[in-house]
Every structure is written in C-alpha cells, then in structure tokens.
Amino acid sequence: MRRRGPVVVNARRGPGLVGTMARTAVIAGTATATSKAVSGAMDGGKQQQQAAAQQQADLQAQQAYAAGQQDALAATQQPAIEAPASSGTTSFDEQLVQIQKLSVLKDQGLLTEEEFAAKKAQILGL
C-alpha cells in the first residue's frame, strides 16, 4: 500500500466520501456536495466560518427533501387508498417500495419506530 498524493500536509482534508454521500442522498443532488468540496479546499479559518452556514444549508435541504419525500410517499399511497375497488390489493412490489420509503424517513428521524410499524402493518394489510 502506498500514498499517491502530496505527503501528509493535506492528509484527510479532502471533500470526503461518507459525509458527501449522506448529503448527496439528502438533497438528491450534488449542489451541497460541491459547495462542501469547495469549502474543503479553503484554509481552516474560512472553513470554520463556512461550517455554520453549511449546517444551516444542510438543515434546510434536509427539510425540503423530507417535504418532498412525504409528497412522494403520499403520491404512492393514494392509489392504494383511493382505488381499492380496482384490484383490491397492492402488489407486493408496490408494498415493498412504500415500506422502503418509510424506512428512509424513519432512518432520518422523521418517523418513530411506532409510526413506522403502524404504517408498515397498514401497507401490508396486517
């Protein structure tokens, strides 16, 4: 194993992967990831000033995303709720998708375990 980059001075100060992934998933885009990459290239002082603004931006993006997710969730659930007469049941694939979306909301802390369990039982018709 060898190090390819310049020696040690800038070690572990790049834009990162894990945090960038999380932010990219949250806003479903790359705007924040890019701005973070830019701020990562700044010196320490500027970076700290940026961190507060970044946190605020991340929070806003997260809230916007959560709202979007809830809309998406409502959209996927509507046919099941409004048109039970057509087929009577939701296909297993659709149920899985709905549960997966709920699971994302739960992981983001937007649904409690209880809310998730209740919604899951409802989707599965238990």
Partner: protein
C-alpha cells in the same frame, strides 16, 4: 474508474485484526477490487476516537495490510472518520476501506464492446431480496 464503495469493518477489543487480509489479497490479486484508501479507527471504552494511518502502525500491528496491493489516497476525510466512528461500539477497532470494483469495469467494457447500453443498475439490500424470495416461496438457505 469503476464504481467505488467504502467498507467499515469493526473488530471487538482494542487490537486490530488482520484476518480479512487474505481475502482482500485474493480479491486484489485477481483484479476483482482495487483498494484506494485505508484508515484505521479505534474507539475507547469512553467513546474517545483515534484514527491511524497504516504508516502509524508498527510491523506487528499492521497485520499484513502493508503487503496489500493498492493506494492510500486520503479520500476519507476527518469528517468521514467521525461519521464512521459514531457507528462503532465502545472499546472496538475498525478498518475503513475504499475500493474500486474493477470487475464492474471489465463487465462495462464487455457491454460497450457488444454495443449494449446499461439502462439501469443498482445494488439491492440483502433484506429486500430475502423478502422477495420469501414472497415467491423460494427457500432461503
């Protein structure tokens, strides 16, 4: 470059464990994966976190990781180490690896050569597949 993933392996106790090195050696030697970053993390009983570069470890401690083919490109940054460490149990050690799935590049090249086009591709969580198999009545071992 093919798709890249990161993998965090936690070992109980405060000693790094080299038991995964033979498997990684095989996967790197046969060109399945190519390692592009590696960092070691320790979390003490009080939750204190320390990270180590391979070069910080003595020959005894490095457990064969230094003989692995690959690069340490500092792709994981300090924030990543903090995020990963938050998931570790107290009094544990972990290796965080970033690697390229070289096999996927070979597959992609074969697809391009055949004038095919990748329309969709995703890694499916194991639990989803198990649930689907169960629903289809397929016995799961």
């Amino acid at each position: 470059m093919g798709p890249v993933e990161y993998l965090v392996v936690e070992f109980p106790g405060n000693k790094f464990n080299g038991d995964i090195v033979p498997a990684l050696t095989e996967l790197t030697e046969n060109g399945t994966i190519h390692i592009i970053d590696l960092v070691f993390i320790k979390k003490d009983a009080d939750g204190g976190v320390t990270s180590f570069e391979l070069s910080d470890l003595s020959d005894d401690e490095s457990l064969g990781f230094d003989d692995l083919d690959g690069e340490i490109d500092d792709l994981l940054n300090e924030e990543d180490i903090r995020l990963v460490a938050a998931q570790l149990q107290p009094n544990s050690s972990a290796a965080a690896l970033v690697f390229e799935n070289v096999w996927a590049t070979r597959l992609r090249n074969a697809i391009v050569d055949s004038h095919g086009r990748v329309v969709d591709n995703a890694r499916i969580p194991n639990a989803v597949v198990l649930a689907a198999m169960e629903a289809s009545g397929i016995p799961v071992e």
